[in-house]
């Protein structure tokens, strides 16, 4: 079933995230796809994540779709101006990709040998608005399109962001603009999501009252990010390099004490997913390309 058709159902959704290769060799990418495709409702393809060059996310998402696998194309505002965004969005539709996750985009690392010029002409709210405009059959210059696209649009949330209210405001802006599903940054304890989601729902009234939006707004589906921490090294890497990710101190302690860090990480991820079944609409599994780890977790579940 298409991802779009699954969204309004009560099914606990599962998506997995993969990055394109750094090069033209698809062997590892295809291997990971093979490991997870039977257990997920769609696979996200990241877009130069952490502003580190990878092969085109559009090309790799199309590669999935050509193999009959539902793909979620991740697109950032960092690398494309509005013209390139319009053009690539139309191209995505031509290639049969049906789902887009709109991301603001990680900033390039200052220490890069080659520092790429960041664009950020449109932010994530404006990109969602752009997609919706193209779906009506018109471009940014109000020129009619010959053939219009149709997408299922997702946006990102960071449950640990502060100050909370301004982030809730922006998230509701994304929903109001047209986001139908949300994939969150990884959390490591259920409370990190619970309190965020409660605050999000409670803020709906305030947002509807103060903004010029179409009411009532539809609460999007939330797929909560889960990242299995199968080693201390992985945990430290995430903590130091992934923007907006907060790993509670006790996780580091547990990993340090553990005789089998892989097992500890797997168990923790599986346990978290179990708890999320009652609290969210789904899970978004990320593991920086560790396909076997992802498969172990996915297989352990009865989704």
């Amino acid at each position: 079933m298409k991802f779009k058709q699954l969204l309004p159902t009560k099914k606990f959704l599962i998506t997995g995230e993969l990055a394109p290769p750094k090069g033209t060799d698809l062997e590892d990418f295809d291997k990971n796809v093979g490991l997870i495709k039977d257990y997920v409702d769609a696979i996200n393809v990241t877009d130069n994540q952490r502003a580190i060059m990878r092969a085109s996310s559009l090309a790799c998402a199309a590669h999935l779709v050509q193999a009959g696998i539902p793909a979620i194309w991740q697109i950032t505002g960092r690398d494309r101006n509005s013209l390139a965004l319009e053009s690539d969005i139309l191209g995505t539709s031509i290639l049969g990709i049906e789902n887009i996750l709109v991301v603001g985009g990680d900033y390039p690392a200052k220490k890069s040998k080659h520092f790429p010029k960041p664009v950020y002409e449109l932010d994530s709210v404006q990109i969602i608005q752009l997609i919706k405009k193209l779906e009506t059959g018109f471009d940014l210059n109000d020129q009619p399109l010959k053939g219009k696209p149709s997408f299922t649009i997702g946006a990102v949330a960071n449950p640990e962001a502060e100050p909370l209210e301004i982030h809730l405001l922006k998230l509701w802006k994304k929903v109001s603009a047209g986001a139908q599903f949300i994939q969150t940054q990884p959390i490591f304890e259920i409370s990190q999501f619970e309190k965020f989601f409660e605050a999000f729902l409670n803020y709906q009234e305030t947002f509807e009252k103060n903004s010029d939006c179409q009411k009532p707004l539809v609460v999007p589906k939330f797929l909560v990010g889960v990242f299995p921490l199968t080693s201390l090294k992985t945990a430290r890497f995430l903590h130091d390099n992934l923007a907006g990710v907060k790993i509670p101190e006790k996780i580091f302690t547990e990993l340090e004490k553990s005789p089998d860090q892989v097992q500890t990480g797997l168990e923790a991820a599986v346990e978290l997913i179990e708890k999320l079944k009652a609290k969210s609409d789904g899970v978004h599994l990320m593991a920086m390309g560790a396909g076997e780890i992802m498969q172990k977790i996915l297989r352990s579940q009865n989704f």
Binding site: G77, D106, Q126, K173, A243
Partner: protein, 214 residues
């Protein structure tokens, strides 16, 4: 004011490698304020260039080299020394360098990199404040510029990359959206943030603009 940084001596010497006789210009305005092109810096440049085998035919700090009227006057006054020079080293922003270039026949080498529009806190502290975006919305963001102080120039609210309230990119600074939020909350004006902001109008910012007012 325009904040400039001095280019390295190695870079300047490389740029001047084809020339022996040099005249040095400084800037009495912005470059003086940030200590890169005032009297002291021009004299120091004269000194270390001489130590590196150059002959300095003269030096002069133009009050504002970007003001063509002042530059033309300076070029007239220093005509004799300039006549002996093979190239000029200019310690000012790019606007000053180009104003001199347009009025001189010998090559000009920039000695500074033009960095940003600054607020001067004191003689040692300069903070970037304005990006010259041509579409100012300061009254909608509590007087804090999101184009400048947010590296991603986000107009609809913060990104999810902040660490607590710290900016994802400038990790020692508080996220500008966090600052805007707190300020507007205090002023009871949070309603301003619910507006959907449009993208910046880049048509205002096509480079190379010439403005001739009557």
């Amino acid at each position: 004011m325009i904040f400039t940084e001095a280019k390295s001596k190695e870079k300047i010497l490389k740029s001047l490698s084809a020339f022996e006789k040099i005249f040095i210009f400084g800037c009495g305005s912005c470059a003086t304020k940030c200590g890169t092109g005032g009297e002291d810096e021009v004299k120091a440049a004269s000194h270390w260039l001489t130590e590196n085998g150059k002959k300095i035919t003269g030096f002069f700090v133009i009050e504002s080299p970007c003001d063509e009227r002042l530059t033309k006057k300076a070029l007239r006054e220093k005509k004799k020394e300039l006549g002996q020079a093979e190239a000029v080293l200019v310690l000012s922003c790019g606007s000053g360098v180009q104003t001199i270039v347009e009025n001189l026949n010998i090559p000009a080498v920039p000695g500074l990199d033009s960095m940003f529009l600054a607020k001067i806190e004191n003689s040692k502290n300069f903070q970037e404040k304005c990006s010259l975006c041509g579409d100012c919305i300061l009254e909608e963001t509590a007087g804090l510029c999101v184009i400048t102080l947010c590296p991603k120039h986000l107009k609809n609210g913060p990104c999810g990359g902040s660490d607590g309230e710290k900016c994802e990119v400038n990790t020692e600074s508080e996220c500008v959206w966090s600052l805007i939020y707190k300020k507007l909350k205090k002023q009871n004006k949070l309603s301003q943030l619910f507006t959907f902001q449009n993208p910046q109008k880049f048509s205002q910012k096509i480079p190379g603009q010439i403005v001739k007012k009557l």
